[in-house]
């Protein structure tokens, strides 16, 4: 993108902020163009999608693509969406619970082997995921978990990143609160549930949003672990590229159905996602 440098002549000088704003608008348009192209194609007939000259706005808007996509007998989109929603929520709850439970003693208790075990967990984060893919698949066959919800929920629950993040957060909570409760006879479970967890809501929401999005958008793992009606939405929609090849109207309808809900959720969870990124500084 080349932009004329603002002229020095006082009368023609473009205020810097306006220039910056215009530049940003152009870039925002470039970022939004593919999404616009996706949504408008979803409403075009197959002929209009490849018409020459191009239709920047659908000439004969139609819901036919959505109709076909939603009513294909062997592509149960609503079921896939439910699978994704249910397993992502279940995973998020289990992950948060286990991560907090584990982070608590690391942050607050002294015990033998604490440092060693913590470093072992941290070191495990350096091992790339691909290493366990095939052995885990064989184990899932032995567990008889292929095509079940278990396979989408449990294997990722012991993710170390959540432990690490919650430990950092718990460590930042003043110890005095705990000591006062202990004088009142509270045991560690009471302290955990009544003091630490309520004070950790921002961190929990952040970790929750990240866990949910990670599970919801996971592609590699469910692609090989579940099939047919047990598929998750991203994998099911991904398979459409094989099914519909270059029938872009239908492909874009499928992509639109998948994209719009997460984009809407994002608008509401945006604050937490941005906070969480600053807080964690890591992607999963």
């Amino acid at each position: 993108m080349t932009v004329q440098a603002p002229k020095k002549t006082p009368g023609f000088r473009l205020p810097k902020d306006t220039l910056r704003f215009v530049l940003l608008c152009i870039q925002a348009l470039i970022f939004l163009a593919p999404l616009y192209w996706m949504v408008t194609t979803a409403f075009k007939t197959d002929g209009d999608a490849i018409a020459q000259p191009v239709q920047w706005f659908p000439a004969n808007p139609t819901l036919e693509n959505f109709n076909i996509i939603l009513n294909t007998p062997d592509a149960n989109i609503l079921r896939w969406a439910w699978n994704s929603l249910f397993t992502s929520v279940a995973y998020t709850v289990a992950h948060l619970f286990v991560a907090c439970l584990t982070a608590y003693p690391f942050a607050r208790m002294k015990f033998k082997g604490r440092e060693q075990w913590f470093w072992f967990l941290l070191a495990s984060m350096m091992i790339p995921n691909i290493v366990t893919l095939i052995p885990l698949y064989i184990m899932m066959i032995d567990f008889n978990w292929i095509d079940s919800y278990h396979v989408l929920i449990w294997p990722g629950v012991a993710n170390v990143f959540g432990v690490f993040m919650m430990r950092q957060f718990f460590s930042s909570i003043p110890v005095e609160l705990e000591e006062a409760a202990r004088l009142d006879g509270a045991n560690s479970l009471v302290i955990f549930f009544r003091i630490l967890l309520p004070l950790s809501v921002p961190a929990l929401v952040t970790l929750g949003v990240f866990s949910f999005l990670g599970a919801w958008n996971n592609y590699l793992w469910p692609q090989f672990m579940v099939h047919g009606d047990m598929l998750t939405l991203p994998v099911g929609i991904g398979n459409f590229t094989m099914r519909y090849g270059i029938e872009y109207g239908k492909l874009m309808a499928g992509a639109t159905i998948t994209a719009i809900p997460v984009l809407l959720v994002y608008v509401f969870a945006q604050k937490y996602i941005e906070q969480g990124m600053t807080l964690t500084g890591l992607k999963e």
Partner: protein, 316 residues
């Protein structure tokens, strides 16, 4: 807040008591995670070593021992696995080499523009970040259409707006990485941008004010103040992006299916093909260990770079 009456109960000395007097308490909290961690992480690695040294077949009850055969195969140029595997390693490295600098530079450029307050700043941040929450299948399906050989958005603009000839992005080996890299930038650059914005908000304004007194222009301020102070962030962004890019899978599978003629097949794609399509689970496991080792070397080098960087900036 807890407001129970002052009634200091005597601490029970029993293994069922949940207080400090019971040395088992910390371990009780660790048990659920430890079990899951062993079952789904530690054991699979050990099991993978076993699988890679036997010929494991889903249709066979016995798995004969083959030693390091599947590993040595990968270093025997006559073996088809070796050819495809190392080609996929090279492909992945090409992707890393293209995507990482772009993802760092574009993220930095976007962040610089949003550094100072401006109208609709939150809106722009949302626009640049929001693709990051889409699933890879939506991203890939969408960009396959944008770069479609005949009627994709890019070619339509070339044809109808600029009167340029159409380019076969998806089937030309020389430029097929372009759609994949651009789709990846669009998808993930907002994440890096946010990391930069967070780092920039921590830079004291007094540096800029001092530079302004010395008559520094915008570019000079960026070059001599912002950029050096962002160096730890840049290193962090580069490290995480390199590791993320090594994991290339969905974009190339769904946009080009590894083609044309395996020129965009990533390592993970080839490992899954060898395992799940060719039913060569042991061979695929051996590959994943070799590739895991390559990635581990990168990770360690980069961690050491970061550690060095931190020590140096503390020393100053």
């Amino acid at each position: 807040m807890l407001k129970t009456a002052t009634k200091p109960t005597a601490t029970k000395r029993s293994i069922f008591a949940l207080n400090e007097s019971n040395p088992l308490v910390p371990y009780l909290y660790l048990v659920p995670h430890a079990i899951l961690f062993f079952v789904f992480f530690v054991y699979p690695i050990g099991y993978g070593v076993w699988v890679s040294m036997h010929r494991w077949d889903p249709l066979n009850t016995i798995s004969p021992y083959v030693g390091l055969e599947f590993y040595t195969n990968l270093f025997d140029p006559n073996k088809i696995q070796a050819q495809f595997f190392w080609k996929s390693v090279v492909n992945t490295c090409i992707f890393v080499a293209w995507s990482v600098p772009a993802l760092v530079v574009v993220a930095l450029l976007l962040a610089v523009q949003l550094q100072k307050p401006i109208l609709f700043r939150g809106f722009f941040r949302t626009v640049f970040f929001s693709p990051g929450i889409l699933s890879v299948s939506v991203v890939a399906i969408l960009w396959r259409w944008v770069f479609d050989n005949g009627n994709g958005l890019v070619n339509v603009v070339r044809r109808d707006v600029f009167n340029l000839p159409i380019i076969n992005y998806m089937t030309d080996e020389n430029i097929v990485w372009l759609p994949i890299v651009i789709a990846t930038i669009w998808w993930t650059v907002g994440f890096n941008m946010n990391l930069y914005l967070a780092a920039m908000s921590g830079i004291s304004q007094s540096y800029y004010e001092a530079a302004e007194l010395d008559g520094a222009n915008g570019f000079q301020k960026f070059w001599h103040i912002t950029l050096p102070l962002l160096q730890p962030t840049t290193l962090f962004v580069a490290v995480t992006t390199v590791l993320a890019s090594f994991n290339l899978y969905g974009q190339s599978v769904l946009m080009t299916n590894g083609g044309p003629s395996r020129s965009t097949q990533s390592v993970i794609h080839y490992i899954t093909e060898e395992g799940f399509t060719n039913n060569q689970f042991s061979s695929a496991t051996a590959m994943s260990f070799v590739f895991g080792l390559i990635m581990l070397v990168f990770t360690v080098i980069q961690f050491r770079m970061m550690a060095k960087d931190v020590t140096r900036s503390r020393g100053n």
